[in-house]
Point group: D2
Amino acid sequence: MVGGGRDAFIGAVHRKAMALDGQIELVAGALSSEPGKARASGQDLGLADDRNHGSWQELLADEQRRPPGERIDFVSIVTPNHVHYEVAAAFVEAGFHVVCDKPLVHDSTQAEALVKLVRKGGTVFGVTYNYTGYPMVREARHLVRTGVLGEVRKVTVEYNQGWLATAVEEQGNKQAGWRLDPARSGSAGTMGDIGSHAENLAATVTGLSLESICADLTAFGKGRQLDDDGHLLLRYSNGARGVIIASQVAAGVENDLRLQVSGTLGTITWRQEEPNQLVHSPIDGPRRILTRGSPWLCESARLAGRLPAGHPEAFIEAFANVYLGVAADIRAHLAGLKADPLAADYPRIEDGARGVRFIEKVVESALSERKWTAFT
Amino acid sequence: MVGGGRDAFIGAVHRKAMALDGQIELVAGALSSEPGKARASGQDLGLADDRNHGSWQELLADEQRRPPGERIDFVSIVTPNHVHYEVAAAFVEAGFHVVCDKPLVHDSTQAEALVKLVRKGGTVFGVTYNYTGYPMVREARHLVRTGVLGEVRKVTVEYNQGWLATAVEEQGNKQAGWRLDPARSGSAGTMGDIGSHAENLAATVTGLSLESICADLTAFGKGRQLDDDGHLLLRYSNGARGVIIASQVAAGVENDLRLQVSGTLGTITWRQEEPNQLVHSPIDGPRRILTRGSPWLCESARLAGRLPAGHPEAFIEAFANVYLGVAADIRAHLAGLKADPLAADYPRIEDGARGVRFIEKVVESALSERKWTAFT
Amino acid sequence: MVGGGRDAFIGAVHRKAMALDGQIELVAGALSSEPGKARASGQDLGLADDRNHGSWQELLADEQRRPPGERIDFVSIVTPNHVHYEVAAAFVEAGFHVVCDKPLVHDSTQAEALVKLVRKGGTVFGVTYNYTGYPMVREARHLVRTGVLGEVRKVTVEYNQGWLATAVEEQGNKQAGWRLDPARSGSAGTMGDIGSHAENLAATVTGLSLESICADLTAFGKGRQLDDDGHLLLRYSNGARGVIIASQVAAGVENDLRLQVSGTLGTITWRQEEPNQLVHSPIDGPRRILTRGSPWLCESARLAGRLPAGHPEAFIEAFANVYLGVAADIRAHLAGLKADPLAADYPRIEDGARGVRFIEKVVESALSERKWTAFT
Amino acid sequence: MVGGGRDAFIGAVHRKAMALDGQIELVAGALSSEPGKARASGQDLGLADDRNHGSWQELLADEQRRPPGERIDFVSIVTPNHVHYEVAAAFVEAGFHVVCDKPLVHDSTQAEALVKLVRKGGTVFGVTYNYTGYPMVREARHLVRTGVLGEVRKVTVEYNQGWLATAVEEQGNKQAGWRLDPARSGSAGTMGDIGSHAENLAATVTGLSLESICADLTAFGKGRQLDDDGHLLLRYSNGARGVIIASQVAAGVENDLRLQVSGTLGTITWRQEEPNQLVHSPIDGPRRILTRGSPWLCESARLAGRLPAGHPEAFIEAFANVYLGVAADIRAHLAGLKADPLAADYPRIEDGARGVRFIEKVVESALSERKWTAFT
């Protein structure tokens, strides 16, 4: 693992997700950009001294020195965004499989370079768009892709949070600090952090190609250089229309990610805060509440669950599903086989690259003011 | 009553709303544009023969002939949209109070002419934006207007229905027929029918001034001349941002109107399909579920309810609240008094006129294609 | 109408329910046991002086004097419980149709006498167990009665309210005053007031015969002579088991009536506070949310609704359905016909009498302490 | 670990719960009563050969042979019920800490013997009543214990499942097989399996002492020797009343465990299928939705969570909290310290013993038929 040391929020989540199913063991790390903190964090986690490094460069060098059978199987990159590119590129070039947090990198140039490297090396590269790891999102994808909704006409993703409603970045909140800093976060704030999840969720479930975007981004917090709120109109190449609403200033709201997709034959709705159910409203019968763990779900949704229906699974389990997908792909790779697509079901480097381009285009659209009609 | 004869959906709703509280009696009518049907409809409802007319012109003439004490107190206009203007204008000019369905008229010219007539005559004129008659919408208005939410930053209104998902207008659905016909419905379809409710709800609750609009309207149904789906980005003069989503092709969805308003201090959410509760998420404490009938609601919300908490009220009761507001204003007018604003709480001619302008501007914006940034 | 004068809660509800659909007009009354208050209340409601009486005896005498065509069609009795019997008996004996609030009378002797009178006179007699007027309760009945749930095994009714959690009867709450007074309320408090609704709901939906009862009634409020809380175990003659929980001291709870019925093939759940939906969990597929106004409901549920799905109806509309059922039966009676059972769908005198017996047996069971096994 | 081999449901859950937080490592096992299956299961999980045993006796003997620093810190017993006693007693006597699944043992004699052994040895003994590991159950306990609800009057626990609605025990469902077999499951079926969870939940949250029980147990499935459904009336020593409803034949229902507690000042409601929220209805203000991860929760509830509000946690995380509590106690024990009660928060041997007594008394009460009053 690179990044994720003491005080880091998401690093600990990655570790729990890896540990949950007993398939992945954390054996080496460079857990902070600050060597002392990196090593102290590694000691907290019980890393052996010779695999607890002060920098990712040392980690990489050490792993390369080891005989193949004693090396890590993959590296997980959970640093702030601006570090992703160089770490990922270096590990991919050295032939290691990689899991990287989203958004993948800062711009399309980096993203395309990384895609090329991965394709050249043929290594496994997963991006932790964790929300698409939820079993009921997989069921949603199944319903859309198999035509149960008919032709898709309308996609709405709302992703509201309230944690940036006040100036927490001035009060020592580290995550707010880097998320709102263009140098570390990239060209977008909220749109990069959670708008990118919204894009990935819509794309994963519907498989539609985005054709054009009309964006309104706002920084409500005083002095913020990056957006903390945004609204997007979307057009898809098949004629479908979409809306993305993303906000981190929806005061009092927790982590309210919702997806609604309407097709000619029905509508599905999923809410991350109640992730074990998917609502399906067909045009010709009563609403159906599909629940995780039910025998009538698609195989992909069933495989993504661990417990019977009514025994809820949640965020960490969905996150772990991304790791399980990567692990299945790496195992197949090690065995010289093609992975079973049902098992190796995780967001790929191409999803990450598309997400970066999405952020760029949203920012470009937001800068254009021609779109407005005065209401007088 | 003008309009609302046999087979008309909304006319029957108006009559139940009028009857509910025992304050309004239907005594005269011209219930259809077709004289025979008008009279047959009046007979169904037990109208006296001498007050059951074949046309609104006859109704008006008859009422004008009667001595003041025997006249109707007001007329309720529940025809398709294209008839509103001439009927309303004639009754207002003749000095009658009026209740008129929304959208008020076809264009701003008519709307402004009507506003002038009403102001000149000093008569009462209510527009049945019925959703703002819900007690919990009044509580929402109270929370926003008294600063409980702080400064408003974000307004989202979603209004999805599915009844136009298939070509019902070709299968004898009369309401679909006129709603999708520009001659009878005006320049917008879904945006006129339910987008106008969304606009009124946002404006009533927040009191914010709309500054500019960016609209994407779509007609998904083959051969439809008017939109059956639309997405709007909104900017308000105080810097707040908004989104309106309205659709009548969200297959399988019933009447899913939702409002969410976020301010610096919290967020409120209201859903029409569960109208007895308002969710308030303050920034500094747990979510609160405010319920109709509770003693801690504002006076306006309490006055708008009839039953104790937990004994739900719904659509007809909210609709009746609009009529109660108009009735209170007419009673005050008859008594030569200024009405108590708490009692005479209903959408006015100005709300109706603003709604017409809103539709015009949405259509204007939708025609501009400059707004899009290609996603390639 | 007898009873329901100024300050009475339920009388006003009855009047709105009668008025809603334009089929019933209130023309005469004896609205209080106190003559002055009775007449003042009648004036508030616009009753003609000659039909606004100081006592129910005067009302009855006056109606009997009138020629048949000028008489009331039926009387609605909305007094406190202890008055029901003598008023109902007198009107039935005089040949009038009756609607009477629940619980019907104080004891089985009265109930049986009344049943005999009604059967002898052949008049219409409805009891306002209003909750069974909800369309989705009718759908629940349909699902159970047509075998969709298989054989019923388990019935749970919970009816919790919190309005008696404090000593409101000592603070001028008139309804609490008579509800907790054995002289006016009968042998049971909460069990008579809302336990009787629970019994009626279970019986109406399932049609099962109760075989035996084991009851625990409690008066939590200091000095109360009647129960304000109760728990019942039930056994039905087909082997099914049941539980009724009823409380008026569930502090902070509004009017939380729930029904759950499980059979061999599935389970249905209905909540009065969200009355427009019925949840059906079949054993072999996803949960279904059946909603009022949907075309796939049974005819009885469809007839009980006024508005399309998603336009909620609620308490008053359900109450009005009881009146519509009575009205249909009276109209058939006046026409000398047998009423269409789909239209004349309302709780009968026999339901009322069974409810009285239920209360008696619950109280009898509660007095037996033999049932308890010490936990030591 | 003892038990939990291939095909066992709950063993795998225990392992995920142990692994989640990186504090517990599975190093040895006797994973089945069948030696071959035991070892094969251990191989699946990567146990070293010398710690992968064919019987629990071998496991115990091997651990006792090892020097103290190389021994297991505790054993987790996840076998069917009838094996619990001898395994637990042997490990406790040998000085090992123990985690044991519920219900603890078959009867009070065994339970008391085990309590004595644990007290004598001073070892740590946790019972996996996993539902009380949910953060919001801890918040519920806090609200009740600190008087926010006032004096408790009423406790309702409903625990409905549908997985035994059909004769799955005849179709190869192993869990159903032993759960319904008195030899392996004890004197109760559903009441032992999930009724015991209900008892523990009520006792943990309220701290009330049960005084007496009145039970109705039923075996709906043909030929079943143990109950698959039960209803209990409860009386507590402070005068509070309770109801427990438990069923495994509620066809179509998943794992619907609900708790409702009413006191003089309000009511709380918690549902296991939506475990991240606790509804608190105070008597004097709007309902509050308390959510896991919120800063205003009690310290115990905050410590039991891993993620911010809105990032749901669920069943496995709650289960892991029981293990974290045991681990904290063992760590304190190893360090010779008294554990911090906030950290060492888990169900103890005494909770397990009380649960066994509860099952005995319920069965005793159910056998008495004196309790019923005929309804004729």
